[in-house]
Amino acid sequence: MHRRTLLQSALAGTALGALAPATRALAATDILWMTWENLAKDDYLAPFLSTHDVSLTKTFIGTDDEQFAKLRAGGASSVDLITPGLDKVEFYTASDLLQPIDFEKVPNAALLYDTFKQTPLGKMDGETYGIPFYWGINPIVYRADLMDEEPDWSVFFEGDKYDGKLAMRDYALEGIMIAAMYLGIPESEMFDMDDAQLAEIKRVLMIQKSKLRTYWNSIGDLTNLFATGEVVCAFSWVPPYYDLRAQGIDMGMAKPKAGVIGWCDTIAVPKGVEGERLDATFELVNYLLGPEYGKMLAVGGPYAQSTSAARDMLSPEEQSKIFIDDLSVMDSFVWKKNPPRYNEWVALWNEVKAS
């Protein structure tokens, strides 16, 4: 081969090689999803990615606050989809960070459970900015082998039998909600308590602190504390109950009659996402509310999505595990909201812990 021909061939090959990935990148719409790691497992998303010309980049959060701080600090323009708590959407809308959900592009939203259709949370001026995505409860989890009876909220405030064996999540919002439920403060007043009510809350939280082994921050750490017997009862997330039962420990889960804290995360689209990226993002949103994803989340999570899309595909046991076998359970939920005086709540919580 002539040297010039060889060089031309080599250059052409190099150019084609460089062009090939660029062509693929241009064909696929790249969207970035900021979310919890457990929601974006590859197998959960594989059916969507195999049928859509979308390239998905995932970035994971450790807390809801971290997600808001990132967007508030100027990260909104690079993110196409986020997963804020239903009670936190107000933070984002007040900061003008979100765009309303286009329900015409999300047909699976028609399957939202009534509770989520009717909630005023995540909405502003008649528009929905955070569409309910998946939900659950934060109950009391306890070592049934080390406690005499199923506890309720009073175990954290009364008696001395389990002093030094209890744990509470280090989170002002839920900690104060629990004290309010214990004191019988109705939900209608709970998030807008006056000074006298907050003083009473502080008083009982001081009692609670004297009974605690620790305040927990990570659910893995709490699971470890249950397993080693350091803690016999805690306000908890659900996973330790299932994880430790699987290890042969007799665990119990209590849903106090005074109320159970319900949580729900939403899917929200930041402002500035438009064109093909917006269309692809809404296609992903629709998939996340659909049956394939819902079933995998229920079995693998185990968490319930906010629509009934996958409900009939699940066995009664699987439905029971994610609390959708009897939807009236939601009637006893106290959904987390954002208190107007939240700064004072956090200050009060820190005062109690520092006492």
Binding site: D65, A94, S210, A354
Partner: protein, 283 residues
């Protein structure tokens, strides 16, 4: 500095300004703002500093942070003096091996060390089980874990190597002739330590002490995971203010209050080192 030196140093100075000074300056500016829900009002005010001064919680947490740091500095100094002396003056060929062993725990992460202490100090842990097996106690000592005791044990363990290194360097520079002269003049051991060793190793003590002090004052993970219900620190309170409460201005004001106190401690330490060096130089 020559012109070439200025040119060569300018990238470093620029990086220092952009990565270290600028963020601190931004925090300082924010500390004079106020927050209303998620909107930051940029009207300058001293309200945040007044809030810190008027809050027993924040004042108490700041005092607790520096009190803990001072206590750990004192304990590590007491332990590190004989260890450093031994390493510098009594060990020959094994010196580098022993120094490496001293630093080995630092190769593991903070969390690994903290959870190791959980295994040792827990109700079902090694120490409680051993004491029960020996018949010294009938039920596990709950106060071993999730208490100020466990927090300070772990803090001393974590930061002891920094004090040892500081003092070891000082002992390496200490001429044995001084001690021999003091002994020849009839000074007993405590007098030799107080009048010879302490003044001549003071720069190492201050340098090591400052390092330990700064790191303990800023450590929130150890108190959080080992301190139990009382494991709150001023750093975790700042974290709550920045994250949960979205009160960046108050968080910034507390951070700057801490920084100002630490800078004063650092300046006092540097001044003390300088003075002790001058004294050493004159003698």
């Amino acid at each position: 500095m020559t012109r070439l030196g200025t040119i060569l140093a300018s990238p470093v100075i620029a990086a220092l300004l952009a990565l270290c000074i600028a963020p601190l300056a931004i925090l300082f500016v924010y500390s004079f703002y106020q927050v209303d829900f998620v909107t930051i009002s940029r009207e300058p005010t001293l309200a945040n500093y007044a809030k810190i001064a008027g809050s027993p919680t924040y004042r108490g947490l700041i005092v607790r942070a520096f009190g803990s740091a001072a206590l750990v500095v004192a304990i590590t100094a007491v332990i590190a003096y004989p260890v450093s002396w031994f390493l510098a003056k009594r060990v020959g060929a094994a010196k580098s091996t022993l120094l490496t062993l001293l630093l080995v725990p630092l190769y593991s992460g903070d969390l690994v060390r903290i959870f190791a202490w959980r295994v040792l100090l827990g109700a079902e842990g090694v120490i409680n089980r051993s004491l029960m097996w020996l018949g010294a106690i009938e039920t596990p000592l709950q106060s071993l874990l999730f208490s100020p005791l466990s927090t300070h044990i772990a803090l001393v363990y974590n930061y002891l190597p920094f004090m040892v290194i500081g003092l070891w360097l000082a002992f390496e520079a200490l001429d044995d002739a001084w001690l021999e002269a003091a002994a020849d003049l009839g000074a007993p051991a405590h007098a030799r330590f107080r009048r010879v060793v302490l003044p001549l190793t003071l720069p190492g003590l201050i340098a090591g002490g400052l390092m330990v002090f700064l790191m303990v004052a800023g450590d929130y993970l150890t108190p959080q995971l080992l301190g139990g219900a009382s494991g709150i620190t001023i750093i975790s309170a700042i974290n709550d203010l920045f994250g949960t409460a979205f009160d960046w201005p108050l968080g910034s004001a507390i951070a700057w209050t801490m920084l100002a106190i630490l800078m004063m401690a650092f300046a006092a330490g540097a001044l003390a080192i300088r003075r002790s060096s001058l004294v050493e130089g004159r003698t």
